[in-house]
Amino acid sequence: MKNASPRILALVLVFSAAIALRAQDIASFEKRITVKKLANGLTVVIMERPEAPVFSFYIHVDVGSAQEVPGITGLAHMFEHMAFKGTHEIGTRNWPAEKAALEKVETAYAAYLKEKLKEVGRDDKKVAQLEKAWQDAVTAADEFVIPNQFGEIVESQGGAGLNASTDRDETSYYYSFPQNRLELWAYLESERFLEPVMRQFYKERDVVFEERRMSVDSSPQGRLLEQFLGAAYIAHPYGRPVVGWPSDLRSFSATDAMNFFRKYYVPANMVVAVVGDVKASEALPIIERYFGRIPARPAPEPLRTAEPPQQALREVVIHDHSQPLYVEGYHRPDFRDPDDAVYDVLSDLLSKGRTSRLYRSLVRDKRIAIAAQGGSFPGNKYPSLFFFFAAPAQGHTAEEMAKPIHEEIEKLKTQDVSDEELQSIKTRAKADLIRGLGNDQGLAVQLGEYQALYGDWRELFRQIDEIDKVTKADIRRVANKTFREENRTVAKIETSETKGAPAKGEPR
């Protein structure tokens, strides 16, 4: 590069301009944001952004697949699906009759499952009879259902982007509405967590199983990730698939789902963020009236199991028809760790754009990969992994990815990053923050998420200060602390035309 010095000068100027921006922004955000904790423990965040007569929301529930235990893996995600099934009022033709019918379904299912899972003395004829009795009870209960009425109301009232998602740390619900539907929204969203109904549970379980087939069993990447996390974690639930194990997806019941709901969907575990054409003075009383109805319950006990320190390198090799893929991961602490921002800087340094180290080494210069990245996965709340991922270029194996990745790691451990690189990362972090502030749904997600995780939405802006403080020495220290061979788990797909088809996740 020619003319390095004028550029650095320009950079410093940009840098200070961005800081000024930030200060101005956080002040303007303070004026437009209202936070209130309701009497039942539920936290509400409202941001006034009257750009157009619409609003978006994000409900964050502090429960994910990490709260599951063997036998109910996949239940957090399953409940998320069930939250679209309606209430005592929505989705039913006759609630008292439906309620009685659903109770019969549960009794019949429990009898069937007990016989089916008997380890000694199972009577297959009895299993078949009990299965039929359960199916008959399901058919009887279906008589009372108005399918998908909840979604139908949201859609016909102008809801956009109706969706929800579940991961290891959290379950979230979101969509956008025209501004005049605020009270309707408060009614619908409070009602679904006040009195959810587990109608059509077992058909929805089939739907979720199809989701597993699509995202894991029939996908080389899905299979690789499941094996990778399974190998990296021997104790902590991050090692289990969010969508659940096939056996559990065939076993857990609507009763299990309601127990899970009662334990984790307590107001103290929920944050509701609303952003758009709303006035806090008008919206808050409405939200309080509706969401205040959810009874206070004790917050669930924190997770006890922690991943013990890894003792030795672990490796998984999948021989698959697919083209090769390579991933390796190292245990890292959770998001509360003082070094959290250092991992963010590492991730940017290794992965962001065409100047990133992995791109320049593996893709541009060595030409052995078509993509290479590093970052944190699979969660934030509990100790996670810092991963390195590469997709080999045509004619290269997954195995070939290890050496150049380890060379990059060695550089991080032994050589300081340049001033320019570090400055550039800090500038980008600020610009990326600004770019994320321009739409209601994105803001609702970020404010809700930061309020839930840190107890204060302002942390969204303070993260930038933390990144600013990261030094070259921090990067070397954290690299040396984290990237050790005995802390490494490797998973790869090597292409094989002849080896058998991969496991399909269900018996033939």
């Binding site: 590069m1 950079l11 940009v14 301009a17 921006l21 157009a52 007569p53 279906d142 998908n148 909840f150 979604g151 859609e155 016909s156 009232q157 809801g159 956009a160 982007g161 109706l162 969706n163 579940t166 991961d167 956008s176 501004q179 009270e183 309707l184 009614y187 059509q200 058909k203 089939d206 739907v207 087939r213 699509m214 995202s215 996908s219 080389p220 899905g222 990730l225 009236r289 698959d320 028809h321 991992y343 963010d344 992965s351 065409r354 541009r364 078509i370 993509a371 990245q373 590093g374 699979p378 991922f389 997709a391 045509q394 500038t427 980008r428 600004i434 993260q463 088809a501 269900e506 033939r508």
Partner: protein, 500 residues
């Protein structure tokens, strides 16, 4: 804590397909018929039924229209001020895309777009541009589509004066350096080698080929040899031929003063010679060959089914009735396909579809679902049954109302940001649609009747004439697909040379 850096994101980036997430199916976008409250609710209390909740009138809203300027040389510029954030973003869309590339060089325009940016300019290498842009947290990217290429940028306001000259430099003096073309060719070939790893990618590609015909420019795919055939000279020629004001539409949005920005853009572009307006490629469309098509894949436990046909273009007066039909039949959570196939039968996680519509050519009509290998035939039957029900039945007034409400009540989301309004106006300009097309759309939807929906269902949905693609593990199917008629196997192995 940085949620963006997930492994899933990395994977999806590489393989150019959607990532895995535990989530429900998406709902369609679409707003303004308040439903009258059926009963009064005590003020200060809570409603006991959703129908009791009052819906006040929507706040008055007039979206801010961008300013349109046309230069003497034909170039059209849209300026949209937006002072919320200190950013200035924009894009230049240029006529001419993959439809206009020679078949034996399929992939040329994709390579062109890639190397346009990475290959740098006469005075700066692509790597130097990377360093400069990353240090300023700015982005400049080129992209291609069937009918156009684009050069877009995003910059902090403070850096616009440094970033915009780079955009102009790329526009006027691109270098298409050979080393970056070599790199791009290697990457594109690698992507071809990976194109059969993901079921969804296979299904999309092969069903589009069935709908349009394998040689139709909207369907053809790059091969090793068509990528190998592209030379640097092709990229230079393409640029020379296409990139001229007569073929360009620029849109800019952000924290600027329109009058001053207009002057600046005039200075930048008014001096460029007009160039030759592109004559659009003549493309003929014919119906797909009816039948069952099978991609037999033994490493999956789910089948993807995709039934395809030619759709319509949006100038067709039936467009509005088709939109309403699509909404009620295969659109959101309450559509027939979703309710009957997913919710009631539990046969699929992803299911949906509709008559395809596009601005200037027939879209692809596509009904698809994913179901376990053992219910593949049941899935085809379920899709056919729903289509038959739509064609031979009569849509109920209540069903029509819900679908129209869904589109009209969510209509506001088509223009709820200045950036969206700008993007819409640029699209209408590009395709020669009237600037008030959105308003016409709303009026068109409002007029649709049940009879219209019944009529367009019969006119555009023909199950017996559709090509039915199944991607799955045939040995595990519930029935041999030949029970549906002749099965044509599709060989997806990747050819090394032309003329397979």
């Amino acid at each position: 804590m940085n949620r963006l850096n997930s492994l899933l994101l990395a994977l999806s980036f590489v393989l150019l397909n959607a990532a895995v997430a535990g989530s429900q199916s998406p709902a369609p976008a679409a707003t303004a018929t308040p439903s009258a409250p059926s009963a009064q609710r005590p003020s200060g209390g809570v409603a006991t039924s959703w129908q009791q909740v009052p819906i006040p009138p929507l706040h008055a809203f007039k979206p801010q229209e961008p300013r349109r300027v046309q230069l003497e040389n034909g170039m059209v510029i849209f300026l949209q001020e937006d002072h919320e954030l200190p950013l200035i973003d924009g894009a230049i869309r240029i006529r001419g895309g993959s439809l206009d590339e020679p078949a034996d060089k399929t992939g040329l325009v994709a390579l062109y777009a890639d190397v346009w940016r990475t290959g740098g300019t006469t005075s700066k290498t692509g790597d130097q541009l990377d360093d400069f842009l990353e240090a300023h947290a700015a982005r400049i990217e080129a992209a291609e589509s069937p009918d156009s290429t684009s050069l877009s940028w995003s910059a902090l306001k403070e850096n616009f004066d440094q970033v915009f000259p780079v955009v102009l430099d790329l526009l006027e003096h691109p270098e298409f350096r050979q080393d970056k073309l070599d790199l791009a060719k290697q990457q594109f070939s690698s992507l071809i080698s990976r194109r059969n790893d993901d079921m969804d990618e296979i299904t999309q590609r092969e069903s589009t080929r069935l709908a349009y015909g394998a040689n139709n420019p909207y369907a053809r795919t790059p091969e090793y040899y068509t990528i190998a055939a592209v030379a640097r000279e092709d990229l230079l020629q393409w640029h020379k031929r296409m990139v001229s004001p007569a073929n360009m539409i620029l849109g800019i949005t952000g924290d600027f003063d329109s009058a001053a920005m207009e002057q600046r853009l005039r200075q930048a572009f008014a001096g460029l010679p007009r160039g030759e307006p592109l004559v659009p490629a003549k493309i003929t469309f014919r119906d797909p060959s009816a039948g069952i098509y099978l991609v037999d894949k033994n490493d999956v436990n789910q089948s993807e089914i995709s039934m395809v046909d030619l759709g319509i273009d949006r100038r067709n007066p039936d467009y509005y009735a088709v939109e309403v039909m699509n909404e009620l039949f295969g659109g959101g959570f309450s559509s027939r396909l979703f309710v009957n196939i997913r919710t009631r039968q539990g046969l699929a996680y992803s299911v949906g579809g509709g008559v395809g519509t596009a601005f200037d050519h027939p879209g692809v009509t596509r009904f698809s679902m994913g179901t376990k290998s053992g219910s593949t035939a049941a899935g085809i039957e379920a899709l056919r049954k729903e289509m038959d029900g739509l064609i031979h039945g009569a849509v109920k007034a209540e069903e029509l109302k819900k679908a129209k409400d869904a589109i009209l009540n969510s209509f506001i989301f088509e223009f709820d940001s200045k950036e969206k309004v700008l993007a819409e106006r640029m699209r209408y300009e590009f395709y020669g649609y009237p600037p008030d097309f959105l308003e016409r759309y709303r009026a068109g939807i409002e007029k649709v009747t049940t009879a219209d929906v019944d009529r367009v269902a019969r006119k555009y949905i023909h199950p017996e004439k559709m090509a039915v693609l199944v991607v799955g593990d045939a040995k595990d199917f519930d029935r041999n697909l030949s029970t549906f008629g002749k099965v044509t196997p599709i060989d997806i192995s990747i050819p090394e040379k032309p003329g397979k």
